[in-house]
């Protein structure tokens, strides 16, 4: 286990290095000079040149013959390792600070979406597998097919049109109502409302959370339902399930004690893989629902060509995905004792 852990972590670090290299090259390939972008088109050539020197953009990209470490990429990686992601061009706020203040919004939304996906997807998948070829099975299969075929941004607009505009049941955008005076503690507003002892605020935050969470959770829901169904069907066909049945155990015990636990391993993998999909989908969902998270921030940065923000947001997303994959790999052992790390 120990040596596996070390190798697995080393691989994650190596992948992070690759990510930083890819983002570094990407950002420097985007047309337009950051110094000109910061100073505006009317800046004097001398001012642009000074700023380029100040930003270190006049240095070679990877290797400086005079001083091997005095190049852009080594400096960039060194800054990254310290958690320094630069500052937004327009706002001049450090990317790290803004990332920190926006992350809870995205995390709250993603967790709510995942909760929604699990709450519907798991039971639907289980029911479909237990009552195979029944109407429930067909229903679950149809739901999962519709879920993967539905563009997130269209579903978001439809939800907001019907439930916010037409019916007026739920708010169409933002995280809190205008009159709310909630003081954040954790940045998870539903939780903050409860911690502050103001259930009305928590309820307000929850109402704002529902529509975006459904939109963002639709694809994970479909995939979780599908995987749960096929994985459980697979396990229910195994010999030990027949043995359990021959012993005279009830279907309930067989399902809950014997089949489900084994069937969940692929489901856990898929949930881990959804971390990336959730962060990607957050760009679209947050844009539609004006959710002040990382996704809508990166989207605005793209339209304003604010490179440090794009860079920081993308690297952060890739970091979250890599770490999630690492955790998923490590969680296998506790779910399936047969798996041994070597």
């Amino acid at each position: 286990m120990g040596s596996y852990l070390i190798r697995r972590i080393l691989r994650t670090l190596l992948v992070m290095l690759g990510i930083s290299l890819l983002v570094f090259v990407f950002v420097r390939s985007i047309p337009g000079d950051p110094a000109t972008a910061m100073l505006g088109e009317r800046a004097t050539p001398q001012a642009v040149k000074n700023l380029r020197t100040q930003l270190g953009l006049d240095k070679p990209w990877f290797f400086n013959p005079a001083n091997p470490l005095d190049a852009q990429y080594p400096k960039y990686v060194a800054a990254l390792a310290k958690g320094d992601l630069g500052s937004g061009i327009k706002s001049n706020i450090p990317v790290r600070d803004e990332l920190g203040s926006r992350f809870p919004a995205t995390a709250e939304l993603s967790l709510a979406a995942l909760f929604f996906a699990l709450a519907i997807g798991l039971p639907a998948g289980i029911l479909a597998a237990l009552r195979r070829n029944s109407i429930w099975d067909n229903l679950a299969t149809t739901i999962s097919l519709v879920g993967v075929s539905m563009p997130v941004f269209w579903l978001g607009l439809l939800l907001s049109y019907f439930f916010a505009v037409k019916l007026g049941w739920l708010p169409p955008s933002a995280r809190l109502g205008n009159e709310s005076t909630l003081q954040p503690i954790t940045g998870f507003y539903v939780l903050d409302g409860l911690l502050r002892g103001k259930p009305a605020d928590a309820w307000d935050a929850l109402r704002h959370l529902i529509l975006p969470a459904i939109a963002l959770g639709s694809i994970p829901l479909a995939i979780i339902a599908r995987i749960t169904r096929s994985s459980l069907l697979d396990v229910l066909g195994q010999d030990y399930v027949r043995t359990a049945r021959a012993k005279g155990l009830s279907q309930r015990t067989i399902t809950l004690k014997h089949a489900l636990r084994n069937a969940l391993l692929p489901v856990v993998t898929v949930i881990g893989l959804q971390a990336g999909a959730l962060l990607g989908g957050a760009v679209l969902t947050e844009t539609i629902f004006s959710w002040p998270g990382i996704g809508s921030w990166v989207y605005e940065a793209i339209s304003q060509r604010d490179y440090p923000i794009i860079q920081g947001g993308v690297i952060f997303a890739a970091l979250v995905v890599s770490v999630t994959n690492l955790l998923v790999d490590l969680s296998y052992a506790s779910l399936d004792p047969r798996i041994q790390y070597r």
């Binding site: 691989r11 047309p31 075929s149 563009p151 096929s230 962060l279 539609i288 793209i302 995905v321």
Partner: protein
Amino acid sequence: MTVISPTAAPKTKRQPSIFSRRFRRSTPGKVGAVIVAIFVLLAILAPILKPYDASSDRNYRLNLKPPSVAALWNKEVAEEYRDPVTGQVDAWSHPFGTDNLGRDVLTRVWHGTAISLKVGVVSTVLALVIGTLVGVLAGFFGGWFDSITGYLSDVMLAFPSILLAIGFASIFSADNPPLLISAINKLFVLGSPQLVTAMLAVSLVQIPVYMRLSRAVVLGLREREFVQASGALGATQIRTVFKHVLPNSLSPLIVQGALSIATATIEVAALGFLGIGAQPPLPEWGTMISDSRQYYVDSPWTMIFPGLAIFLTVLGFNLLGDGLRDVLDPRSTQ
């Protein structure tokens, strides 16, 4: 030299192949094939039945009119479409309504079909060819090539695909597209360099999926007897790969191909929605939805119909992929 003359077989009706028999038993496959066929037909017929020029089409007298079909049961809508001279109501003039520039939503959605199909298929085929080639070679030869490509796909898969596509799509300037991009733009008559960039971005993001898949398939095939036999009979490695390994690893790749046309269609539309794919006035579905964001509260039809088109196309390809899996890879279906 012996000549084998074909024995005169009794004339029987040709048996349908095992594939078409299996496919006909697969309900999702049939439904998907029908949906896809309808959309392909629509795309081909669009320029013939309803010629359309996106850049000159606008009619300010008709902006944001509701779907004219509603005139059949809704008096208010009927009034909107009543001809002031004859007093007749034409319920079929704008069945899906009009957008903010008075353009017919039906015509635009219809002409968007060709764009979305081309973009979905081309990006998938590109990813399939490149990814499979690299994956097959990596799986067959192993060694340093396998390590490097494996590492590259690890890095690429660590990005949420839409973010990687956004990054890639923002590299190329729209005013002065590189030669390759304008060449692809001309070749497939897409009419927007940004759309080509978005298409290539979505394609790039899919490559590691095919690399992984084909590598895994080849690893299983490499030790099989017929592959070993090919080597023992003196075939070169290149010949073994392309004559024996590749043809036998195609089934899962074709299934994945149909499913990823669906993904590619959604992702290109998503890039269009974010404003970094196709640019207006091109009638691309994602771009149309993006345009509708300012109006959909009062005029939901500008958003509903393009989205419905995306949904149905993607549904068609997903069903087709499921059907192909039933046919080509029956062991994987329960």
